[in-house]
Subunit: 248 residues, 2 copies
């Protein structure tokens, strides 16, 4: 049986996230329907992670097993002709039997996109978070360095998460500023439920002087979600990079 | 009575163009509802032009008359809180009694946005036209210069136009190329029905060798719409610049 990996992108606005759910439109549901139509059968498609409702992916990886003989180079075109305009497959390739889009993924980068404006932009609606104030970038940069390294991120996790440990390793947290745009890029070996959005909301609280960079280490150590900033809106969040271990 | 001009932007995807129509959602309808709510009464809002269904405006101008006393600097915020996310007002100012958004407009620039890719991009769906081939930019640049000057553009006009003359003056036609993106910027004193889209479709025919730059002058002189290229899809077209005569 072949194991096929897909590289996808999607605008998450219309979807209740990636993960299949009863009575909800999900990206996985749309992709599985397209895969079934192209490859036959009813293959289960494994995605690299659950994104929340409204979260986007500039890059996403999924895999599925199939007996179909269609050459991998033709799969993107076949799938795209059956996918809605807000989901696309840019490449497909045969991978080893042990490859699994979720368990073989060793690092991910999320980018939180903000534009700072008192006026909403019709072309960035649902694609970025509009922040109506002037940001204190230096304060946020200083605070963001507290996120680095291996630590317990319980204070950055929303309720509803079922993972056993809340220890994760953050490899970098970069803040880019250009014109009215602000981007927070964070890379980790894994993300707790709403972790990237809680980090963004906490940094905006730092910008507003509601949390200081000095108190952030203590806040993180406390594991108390209530002391951190709010979960920033889903529309600003993009999955932007993936690292895979192909040795398995 | 005050005469107030608005500077707007909108994503035209969900609308049947600017102009008020029975039983159709239009940008003018949404703006008039917001103006009535903020300023009272039922002011008619005059827009700088009819854009087609699905056409966008990075900049658009409209004016209306009102007795309300709200300072012009506050009007954008008041209107934006009542407008949907795909329409925004960036500024409002009191203008002379003779100012009319359509008749005082002396030049407009439309930009036709294309991306060249065999794979559709979820983030550019409905916001640009996907062209699946490699464009011949030199051929299109050469051909585009045939559009310049004062001439009869009947060959670039769709049926259904009710204007008396089809003579217009085109001031520039620029082709910008960056990465997979292609932009056609055209400035004229006025545009016939579908003229900017017919010009874009004709240049893409030139790129494909279906029309040569040499035969374009004869094609234009013939006034025969059937000899030109197709009307390019609405989703790629943006109103991007306006020139006003404030002397009236």
């Amino acid at each position: 049986m072949r194991n096929i990996a897909l590289r996808l992108a999607y605008d998450g606005t219309r979807y209740h996230g990636w993960q299949l759910q009863q009575n909800a439109r999900t990206v996985a549901g749309a992709v599985e329907a397209a895969v079934a139509s192209v490859c036959g059968g009813a293959p289960r498609v494994t995605g690299c992670g659950r994104t929340d409702a409204g979260v986007h992916a500039r890059v996403y990886c999924a895999n599925f097993k199939t007996d179909c003989a269609i050459p991998s180079a033709r799969i993107p075109y076949a799938l795209n002709s059956r996918l809605p305009p807000d989901i696309s497959v840019s490449s497909a390739f045969d991978v080893g039997d042990g490859f699994n889009a979720v368990t073989s993924c060793v690092r991910k980068e999320y980018t939180y996109e903000i534009y700072c404006s008192r006026i909403h932009d019709p072309f960035r609606a649902k694609r970025a978070y509009r922040y109506p104030m002037a940001p204190d970038i230096d304060a946020m940069r200083a605070a963001s360095q507290c996120f680095l390294g291996t630590r317990d991120f319980a204070a950055m996790r929303s309720a509803g998460s079922r993972t056993k440990t809340s220890v994760r390793t953050v490899f970098y947290y970069e803040i880019e500023s250009q014109g009215d745009e602000l981007r927070f890029r964070v890379c980790a070996d894994g993300f707790l439920y709403n972790m990237a959005r809680a980090m963004a909301g906490t940094l905006l609280y730092v910008s507003e002087g509601k949390i200081s960079a000095r108190e952030l280490p203590g806040l993180l150590a406390s594991g108390d979600r209530r002391r951190a900033g709010p979960t920033a809106p889903a529309c600003g969040l993009y999955l932007t990079r993936l690292w895979y271990n192909f040795d398995e």
